[in-house]
Amino acid sequence: MMSGMIADTRPHAGELDGVKRRRVLQQYRRSQRRDCLRALALVAPLCIFLLVMFGWPLVTMLTRAVSNDDFGAVLHRTSVALAEWDGTGTPSERVYADFAADLRQAHDEQTMGQVTSALNFEWTGARSLLMRTVRPLSTEPENGWKEKLIETAPDWGNPDLWVLIKRLTQPYTSRHFLAALDLEQAVDGSIQGVGPEKAIYVTLFLRTLWVSAAVAGLCLLLGYPLATLLARLPLKTSNLLMMLVLLPFWTSLLVRTTSWIVLLQDNGVINSMLVWLGLVSEGNRLSLIFNVTGTLIAMTHVLLPFMILPLYSVMKSIPPSYVRAALSLGASPITAFWRVYLPQTIPGVLAGTLMVFVLAVGYYITPALVGGQSGQLISNIIAYHMQQSLNWGLAGALGSLLLVGVLLVYWLFNRLTGGQGLRMG
């Protein structure tokens, strides 16, 4: 719009001689540059703020996912010694001696925790193994450290454990990303699936995908007819009904989740009503909550306004005369809807569906409160690893995979809606 404006005021080449023309062009370019700089200066504060307070945290999380933290730093002598070990048989006496020295120092400086927790995720029983090993380290052995350590705990004679330690002393690792995909690196370096009792993350990713798709589908199913009605009603009525859509949108997420707990629990309003109506017997109350059903119902309710609003704004802009023309030309109502109305609403359908999907994929609060065991999504396991198991590397890897997925859908959303999709109010 603006460039057209400026082009119109640009002098015609024929009217000016070369020198003047160049000067005018120069002035024009300078003013353009000034406009550009001013625009950038206005955007800069928010850009810098987001870079430091949003971009940097995301980068930190990504580096968590690929770094071995301080494992190599705490065991620095061991890591140097292990570099020369080729991975076959047990390492040399020097490795054992350096390892003993590192452990002793870590014990004194109270940095053992970093070694223990990292090793414990990979080697069952590593915590007690290390505790058993640290205690007798204060006395020098008679026949060298290797014999003494293996004597204390036979695990130290297992080359697999040393392969693992060598891998952990590297600064960067792929093990968290592998674990997030239910994979692990075998002792010989090949990548294999973990045992079925440990394989949970792929299942969770898939469940997150299907729950989000189901929620988006349900929202479309419920929201589309309502949006058509709102778009066709006289403005006074539709504004009033729109309030009923907007109020849930503005109500606190926790309030809405609480309401669903109140409504759906075994002694809740819905079950009590069904029992009272005689549809369900007292002993067979429906379990509607603390499972995946609860997650689906509550998330559909929470995200439905995000479907209705874009649908409504697209439908509002469709002239009703098209459908009327189709009907007067002899199309049945179904044909008129299917061939004339529906194709015009596709931008709204896409915007709403992708928006709901993207929000559902990252949902945490609602599944945590109403999902029980079977309704947990990927966000919940990330929170679990952040707060309870403290396996931050794995939490970072799961988060990074989720982030990449979400950004892909967002990119698709922007492509399909031309960057105009996010509107509100």
């Binding site: 603006m2 540059r33 000034r34 406009d35 001013r38 625009a39 950038l40 200066a41 206005l42 955007v43 504060p45 928010l46 850009c47 987001l50 949003f54 945290p57 995301l58 980068v59 999380m61 309502l226 009605l229 009904l241 309030m243 009923l244 109020l247 849930p248 503005w250 109500t251 606190s252 997420l253 926790l254 309030v255 309401s259 707990i261 109140v262 409504l263 002694n267 809740g268 309003v269 009590s272 439905l304 993207v358 990252g362 945490y364 609060i365 409160l369 990330i382 929170a383 952040m386 970072g396 988060g399 982030l403 979400v406 950004l407 967002y410 922007n414 960057g419 996010l422 509100m424 109010g425």
Partner: protein
Amino acid sequence: MALPAHISPMGRLAHYGYLIFCGSVLLFLIAPILVIVPLSFNSAPYFTFSREMLQLDLSAFSLRWYRDIVQNGMQNPNASFGWSYLVDSWNNAQWIHSLKNSFVIAIATTILSMLLGTLAALGLTSPGMPARGLVTSLLISPMIVPIIITSAGMYFAFSTMGLTGTFAGLIIAHTVLGTPFVVITVTATLEGFDRNLIRAGLSLGASPVRVFRSVIMPLILPGVASGGIFAFATSFDEVVAVIFLADYDQRTVPRQMWAGIREQISPTILAMATILVLLSIGLLTIVELLRRRTERMRGTTL
């Protein structure tokens, strides 16, 4: 929406079916929010309507859960009502503590978001802005990135900056989450804005500052205000970042509700929820009024 006279019985049936379906969807949207209001006045600690409540027996209703909001945590909850009772409640009651925190954090977030977001929106809509689409998507990406990822990342990054367990950290986190709303609403207001008004002002001899103050500002103010309300609501409702970044001292209302629902759900939560519903009705009304004002000013009066 009157039906034409020539419509077939089948068509009539379909039409009423359609209306009933839409009505049920509206009921699905609104009923869960309304159902907690009467339940919050239940005198018994249950989450369902008792027989007495359905018979509208007044003794089945009480304000005890609202009293609990004011009293829970007080040093001397049985004192008679008076100045010292109020001071005790203000200083010691858990819910009052979290309400105070919520308001402090949300108001600071609103001011910061309005400032940063309005500036950015002015830049984004000005004619010289390069790579507008890309920058816009980047600026509103905090809305898209799952909150759990943002919060986990902030937990790592903020602990190195000493921002965890501080009000500053929470205000920053909420500003990150709230500013995109201001960017979106103000950009939307500015896009329908006739730039000739600026030129008219300048050509009539006003300084750029004066043009901003008396031409641009009044026109974008509704957008700024509704963006600010979005930011306020975002902060007031946010719980994941609070879980990760706050200590007890910074506990907000949603955090307190989260703890209550997870540990032992008591009807006090319903009383608090009712208060929050009233708050959201208030916010929604303000935003609607602002939206209509913008539309009127643009000449598209409805």
